[in-house]
């Protein structure tokens, strides 16, 4: 089983224009590692040099912002949905 990951327009250059891709279940950190294996470079757009989520990136697992859950340690079950959304909106 896999998890689905929604990629924002700005990062679709890494996925050949595909909006929804799959990755491996586990923690969000695992999911991002799986993504980076398939689409080299995308991981560096999501995580900084210290391996932390970049401050202008929001990640949701199903309906919840991972910063309100366990951050990169938040579990994503098989069949789960992850959304990556740039934090440029609002107000």
């Amino acid at each position: 089983m896999t998890v689905s990951v929604r990629i924002p327009t700005i990062l679709r250059s890494y996925t050949g224009g595909t909006a929804v891709v799959t990755s491996t279940p586990g923690t969000v950190r695992d999911v991002i590692a799986g993504l980076d294996a398939d689409y080299p470079g995308i991981g560096g757009r999501l995580l900084d040099e210290a391996g932390q989520l970049r401050r202008f990136v929001n990640v949701y697992v199903d309906d919840d912002d991972i910063r309100l859950a366990q951050g990169l340690d938040t579990q994503v079950a098989a069949g789960g949905q992850v959304s990556v959304i740039p934090a440029v909106a609002g107000g």
């Binding site: 401050r55 934090a87 909106a89 609002g90």
Partner: protein, 372 residues
Amino acid sequence: MWRYASLLPVPADVASTPNLDPGWTRLVRADQLASILGMRELWIKDERANPTHSFKDRVVGVALAAAIELGFKVLACPSTGNLANAVAAAAARAGIRSVVLIPADLETQKVIGSAIYGCSLVAVHGTYDDVNRLASELADERDDWAFVNVNVRPYYAEGSKTIGFEVAEQLGWRLPEQIVVPVASGAQLVKIDKAFRELIATGLVDDAPYRVYGAQATGCSPVAAAYRAGHDVVHPVRPATIAKSLAIGNPADGPYVLDVVRRTDGLVADVSDEELVDAIQLLASTEGIFGETAGGVTLAVLRKLLKEGQIDPDARTVVINSGDGLKTPDAVADSVGAISPIPATLDAFAAYESARHEPARRQPGLGKAGQA
């Protein structure tokens, strides 16, 4: 506000295309309020006078010009209410379609104040942050929709600079020494600071130091919490405050707000719902300005900082009232008390007066305002 067009990302002829002609609101010298607070010079930038009664008409004005210029067909937004009103009205006047997404629990006044303009109004279950997320995903799907605060946000946000330009011009081309600004997404505060820096860079004002203070409601105070913790990242929260126009739990410009207040030696603070309601009443009863909950938050934060000695009572200070209390009457309905009718007789009126024991006026006396 189009007098500042050359300092905005808009076409030179922006004023001649159909728009709501926002801005140029009053800067009110608040002497009675200053006297009660023990301040020397206090001003209220009263944004109620905008076409849909909040500062959002400014940002939408710039976003609309950009949307037309860039060939978008629909004007859209996620909104806590004020922005929805501004988008719906501006789109109506410009003759283009609008779609606004709002949290389902929004105040009735703000719902009606959007729907009346004939927009597509979509109420979404959840908080503003849920609505915002949906809008971000929709913006990815709809190529010809201009979400004013998502995909045309760089233009939109610049509109808030006009608050800073006007404040300086209305003070006689001087900057305030202190300014207190409400923080929702944080864009308004960041852009007012940018405006002051641009005025200094162009030589329109002297390069004098100023301090920028951010104001949040405690029930949604992720930026104030990050400030206190010394963080440069804002940890999102789930909002729980009556100040719904400030109820953004994951503020996009939060990190920039932290940068600005630290650079200018200001700070970000928060106040309870009780304190903000009290401040709304204080502003109304001293200056005749019925502000929105966000205006209550800024004034309450000023009060708190004065009490704590964290803001200078002798410095020239501006407080932003970003919206109109008539859109959020429920916030103060309980505080102003119930009204029981009396018979239309002088006796009944006399009985009413003696029963009520009218409290002595707290003002120092009409006509003497500002001499304290």
